[in-house]
């Protein structure tokens, strides 16, 4: 089978999956859909690997499909990497979905939408023309929207999230379309090849504005601040596997779009474009990390952490473009590799985390951290996998998150002092933003793991939780395995990433990073041997554990009531809650988070000097939402109410409009002659 045939067959398998999802009896729907999702993922992934290996793009065209433009599929090595990324998340997520099915995924609509969502994501990076890209992009939005709304009958939050998501994703698509059309306006066709050819001859104003417009559009899909507000609403409301797909794969396609625009179509640009991206990425990373650190809803925390991680990737991309603009071509390739590695890693660990959160929700019925606790004892495997994935997200070596951050740091290190003053100022700031982000991420995930999985259960639901079905555990396990493997032997993914980066940066030298198991930066001094570190850690761990065993009088510890400074009875209510855990961070960043505190004191009737009960509530809203979106919505509503006066029901008024228009036309004609 040639790659072209596989691409088409994969797409057809996805559509077939939708058919199975719609037609099979309820019990089998999700499993049927999932099985064809695997087929689709496998076919597309094999095609992608073939392209990455041969570095020859696959080009397909059909004039019959898609009126007036036809469909253009171009699978370049760069797109192939994203196909692999989507497949990496989609296959385990659909496995997880089989177990998760009872939670609303087994309706006809959802079971049909899931394979279509995956298929559209698999095809987006293969789109070879403006029309094809926009169709697939919007299909991806549509099917994910349907999946976000799965729970609409029960949850007002899901309805609201759906509305926000639909509106913002559409606005984003509108920006993207305008950006593409600005470039395509005078070109001979609407294929990306033609557009890229034409774009090189456009003036700097058009190119710059197209890039900025595209950055906004793709940034909103990538969850870039301040266009992220849909993300912390939609990701939590979607079913677990869907959030994993959205966060792990779909969001990465936003970054794909920025690279597509900046590198593939425009062929790079001046430094300010990229410093803008760097700044937005840094702001996103910080903002996301800060909100993740102060969230008390497990999936909302993960959603904000997505904004954080994608922000890091956009930072790396910004550095890459900036270095390319200052003629540091090898380093530019290195930074692009860093951006892509960050995305792949994010797909693995955030996919695993969202799937785990889905398992938790499946087992306990809640995502509120303050209702969880003690899950590691009750769901040992799921819990352990969550811990590993959380460690990977916190960039702890030797897991994959660390590799990405290391590459990002190296890019920033070697990018500082690249020549322009703006860059020299920006990059140290970016490093500190990245560092603070890293610290806050640790806070967020220690909180998530500590409050959610350790200690005593905080509710009956958590008390009674049991381990989830094997399919769900296996789904998470695959991704957690990927976190470990990619962390210990990053060399496994690097050839593919380098091929992809080189195809995006056509004409630039390849950043040869890998030599066997180590990372050796070409052209600069920098090396890391994660495998060695991993082995050293394991050896050290075994040695210390052995030492303890040898020295201790009795190897197994005695189980006792916790001491707690001498308190007799330890209850779950005495533990630190998620909110109290986040309180110090929240207080430090009061100005950014602007939490709303509510303290209700009730006094006994006899005296106001005693307090009968006290409830304290603190909520952290999204400042950007409150400051940027809500006023716009309010203004539009206001205008809508005013505009109703345009249509008061009076036939005289209506005729008056026409008369006015006629008079204007006559005057215009009189003046023009």
């Amino acid at each position: 089978m040639t790659a072209g045939v596989m691409i088409v067959a994969g797409a057809l398998a996805g559509v077939g999956g939708a058919a199975l999802g719609a037609l099979l009896p309820q019990r089998l729907r999700v499993a049927g859909a999932a099985s064809l999702i695997w087929v689709a993922c496998a076919l597309e992934a094999v095609a992608a690997i073939q392209v990455l290996a041969t570095r020859q793009p696959v080009i397909l065209h059909s004039a019959q499909l898609l009126p007036m433009t036809g469909v253009d599929i171009v699978l370049s090595p760069f797109g192939a990497l994203f196909v692999l990324l989507v497949a990496l998340v989609a296959a385990p997520a659909s496995l997880h979905a089989v177990g998760y099915a009872r939670h609303g995924l087994d309706t006809r609509t959802a079971a049909a939408a899931l394979p279509l969502f995956v298929t559209s994501m698999l095809l987006v990076p293969q789109a070879g023309s403006v029309a094809t890209f926009m169709v697939l992009w919007e299909l991806m939005a549509l099917f994910s929207l349907m999946l976000v709304l799965v729970d609409h009958a029960r949850s007002e939050a899901a309805r609201s999230a759906g509305a926000w998501y639909a509106t913002l994703t559409h606005a984003g698509a509108a920006f993207i379309l305008v950006a593409f059309l600005m470039l395509a306006a005078g070109s001979s066709g609407q294929t990306f090849a033609a557009v890229a050819h034409h774009a090189s001859r456009l003036g700097p104003v058009v190119r710059g504005s197209a890039f900025v417009v595209a950055l906004v559009g793709f940034g909103s899909k990538a969850g870039m601040v301040p266009f992220h507000v849909w993300l912390p609403k939609a990701h939590p409301e979607a079913p677990g596997p869907v959030s994993a797909l959205m966060s792990g794969a779909m969001v990465a396609l936003g970054v794909y779009g920025i690279v597509l625009m900046g590198y593939v179509l425009l062929g790079g640009g001046p430094g300010w474009w990229w410093l803008l991206a760097l700044a937005l990425g840094a702001v996103s990373a910080l903002y996301g990390a800060l909100h993740a650190a102060s969230s008390t809803d497990l999936k909302r925390l993960l959603a904000y952490s997505t904004t954080d991680n994608v922000g890091l990737s956009i930072m790396a991309l910004g550095v890459s473009g900036y270095l390319a603009a200052t003629q540091h071509r090898l380093l530019a390739a290195l930074a692009l590799v860093a951006a892509l590695v960050l995305l792949i890693n994010h797909a693995a660990f955030k996919g695993a985390l969202f799937l785990s959160a889905g398992s938790v929700q499946h087992a306990t019925g809640t995502r509120d951290l303050d209702q969880l606790g003690g899950l590691l004892r009750r769901m040992p495997q799921s819990g352990a996998m969550f811990l590993i994935a959380a460690a990977a997200t916190s960039a702890l070596p030797p897991l994959n998150g660390f590799i990405g951050e290391w590459l990002l740091f190296q890019s920033l290190l070697h990018g500082s002092g690249a020549g322009s003053t703006a860059g020299d100022v920006a990059i140290p700031l970016a490093v500190s933003a990245m560092a603070l982000t890293a610290g806050l991420t640790v806070v967020a995930f220690v909180k998530a793991a500590g409050v959610g999985f350790l200690g005593r259960p905080r509710s009956a639901a958590a008390e009674q939780a049991v381990e989830v079905a094997w399919s769900m555990r296996l789904g998470v396990g695959v991704l957690v395995g990927a976190c470990v493997v990619l962390g210990v032997v990053p060399g496994a993914m690097l050839p593919a990433v380098e091929a992809a980066a080189q195809s995006a940066l056509h004409g630039m030298p390849a950043a040869q990073l890998s030599s066997g198991l180590d990372l050796q930066l070409a052209g600069v001094r920098g090396a890391l041997a994660p495998a060695e570190v991993a082995v050293a850690l394991v050896v050290a761990f075994l040695a210390v554990a052995g030492l303890r065993r040898a020295l201790a009088r009795r190897p197994a510890p005695r189980l006792t009531e916790a001491w707690g400074c001498g308190r007799e009875l330890q209850t779950a209510r005495m533990q630190y809650t998620a909110a109290s855990f986040a309180e110090p961070v929240q207080r430090v960043f009061d100005d950014v988070l602007r939490p709303v505190h509510d303290l209700d004191l009730s006094h006994p009737a006899e005296s106001r000097y005693f307090i009968e009960s006290a409830t304290y509530h603190s909520t952290v809203g999204d400042v950007v939402e409150r400051g940027l979106y809500v006023p716009v919505i309010r203004a539009l509503r206001h205008w809508g109410r005013i505009a109703r006066g345009l249509q008061p029901g009076s036939v005289h008024r209506y005729l008056g409009y026409g008369f006015g228009a006629l008079v204007v036309i006559l005057i215009a004609v009189a003046v023009l002659g």
Binding site: M134, V135, R159, T167, G186, R653, Y657, G660, I665
Partner: protein, 484 residues
């Protein structure tokens, strides 16, 4: 053949006038519509390769553009007449309508079809005008068919505003005639479109400027373009659902067809910029008005009406670009919009029948309570919002592309902005209407007979969005006729 095309609905109308109403007679209208559709396809096949087919001693003329419009009329008419049967059954059952009224309804709907067919088949621009004016006369009673106070109010506004508009269009037609007479066009009939197009470069530009402005304003009234759009939400919300579907789905487009025909002449006489400016202005104005009034809309039928206005504004912008690509997109958009809006109006009629109100807030959680109907409404809304795979996405994309290509990028960007606002508004209304928890015992199923054509309509809209191969040659032939 063209005469036969007109004769079918006319004969059918006669049958309704003569034979007393019985239920089976309702399906006659559907059969007539289906026959129109079939003949439309036959004419289309013929018109693709030849410049034009004529009939009735030269009064009728069908080129690819006319043939395409006949197909559009036929498709929506099949849907609308199919649902008419149920509408009449229901009205008679609840005593709101008598058998005699049902006959009148059938007669008028067929008359409506006949006048629209005449409009798109007329060789003579005067006849075109007569046919468009006749649609107003015929549909007034259809708008007021429910004979409620509000229905009467709507029909009054409809006929008064449209008559004025159409009178302006007549003045415009007269001025074109004058320009033709005084530039030495003396052919067989100076109001014949083909003659005028051939001689358009010789027409007096001063007269043509005034004439075309009046024509855009006049026919624009019937298209529902601002500022003469005001009748539209009232009439569409008060008319019986099948009539709303026909009006919104095809009548507006038929009126726009007239604008397109005149645009070719104006372009010949004045160059492309004049018509372009005018259409961009009215198109954008319509979009802004539609967006503004959709923001706080509380009635789902009015919501659909304003959405029609939005789409007509988009079509006007597409026509302003005027390249073959733009015109092909405009025409496909007309078909796609007709299907989607027709389905939506019919579905909203079904909602109104069962829920008894057209207030959005009093019909919550439709998806949970009436999954099939809610699903149809939801998918229809997605189609209107321009999501793929519905054809409106492709056509909007290509219209925008064409606008960017001719330097109207700013207008396209503004229209995209308005569409984003409209999107937000429709999403918020659709959310209130469709989503949420419904009481279990309220769960109702939808009659299969009702659902089938609606699902079919949506499927058609998807089909032409994915692959318009049966239409591709027809579209490009039609686009060549009126494109720059």
């Amino acid at each position: 053949m063209l005469t036969l095309l007109l004769a079918i609905p006319a004969l059918c109308a006669v049958v309704y006038a003569v034979v007393p109403w019985r239920r089976a007679l309702g399906w006659l209208g559907t059969a007539a519509a289906a026959a129109v559709l079939v003949l439309g396809v036959v004419v289309s096949v013929g018109a693709v390769n030849r410049p034009a087919v004529t009939g009735l001693s030269g009064v009728l003329r069908a080129d690819a553009l006319s043939a395409f419009m006949v197909v559009v009329i036929g498709v929506i008419a099949v849907l609308a007449t199919w649902q008419s049967v149920r509408y009449l059954d229901h009205e008679i059952a609840r005593g709101a309508s008598t058998r005699r009224h049902a006959s009148v309804y059938g007669l008028l709907v067929q008359g409506f079809l006949a006048t629209m067919l005449l409009a798109v088949l007329a060789a003579n621009l005067g006849v075109l005008w007569i046919a468009v004016e006749a649609t107003t006369v015929v549909t007034t009673f259809l708008v007021g068919h429910r004979r409620t106070r509000t229905a009467l109010e709507a029909s009054w506004k409809y006929i008064v505003i449209c008559s004025v508009g159409i009178a302006l269009a007549f003045l415009g037609t007269v001025l074109v005639y004058l320009a033709a007479l005084h530039s030495g066009v003396h052919g067989q009939n100076p109001l014949n479109w083909t003659t005028l197009v051939q001689e358009s470069h010789r027409l007096n530009p001063g007269v043509m400027r005034l004439a075309f402005s009046l024509l855009v304003l006049g026919y624009g009234t019937k298209v529902g373009l601002a500022p003469m759009h005001s009748w539209l939400p009232d009439a569409h919300s008060q008319a019986p659902a099948p009539v709303s579907a026909l009006m919104s789905g095809v009548l507006l487009s038929v009126a726009f067809y007239a604008v397109l025909r005149f645009k070719v002449i104006a372009d010949g006489a004045l160059g492309p910029d004049f018509a372009r400016t005018l259409l961009v202005v009215v198109g954008l104005l319509s979009l802004v008005v539609a967006a503004s009034l959709l923001l706080t809309q509380h009635d789902y039928k009015r919501m659909l009406a304003y959405s029609s206005m939005e789409h007509m504004g988009l079509i006007a912008l597409g026509a302003a670009a005027g390249t073959p690509l733009a015109i092909a997109a405009v025409l496909l958009h007309i078909l796609g919009h007709g299907l989607a809006k027709g389905v939506l109006f019919l579905a909203s009629g079904e909602v109104l029948l069962t829920e008894g109100t057209s207030e959005i807030d009093r019909v919550p959680a439709l998806l949970s309570r009436r999954p099939v109907l809610g699903g149809i409404f939801g998918f229809g809304l997605l189609a209107l919002l321009g999501f793929p795979p519905f054809s409106l996405f492709v056509t909007e994309l290509n219209m925008a592309r064409a606008e960017f290509q001719v330097g109207l990028g700013w207008a396209a960007a503004l229209s995209i902005l308005c569409m984003a606002v409209i999107f937000a508004a429709l999403v918020s209304h659709g959310r209130r209407l469709l989503l949420g928890r419904g009481e279990k015992e309220q769960r109702q199923s939808t009659a299969r007979l009702v659902a089938i054509p609606l699902i079919g309509g949506l499927a058609g809209c998807v089909f032409i969005g994915i692959s318009a191969w049966p239409l591709a040659t027809l579209l490009s032939a039609a686009a060549r006729i009126v494109a720059l």
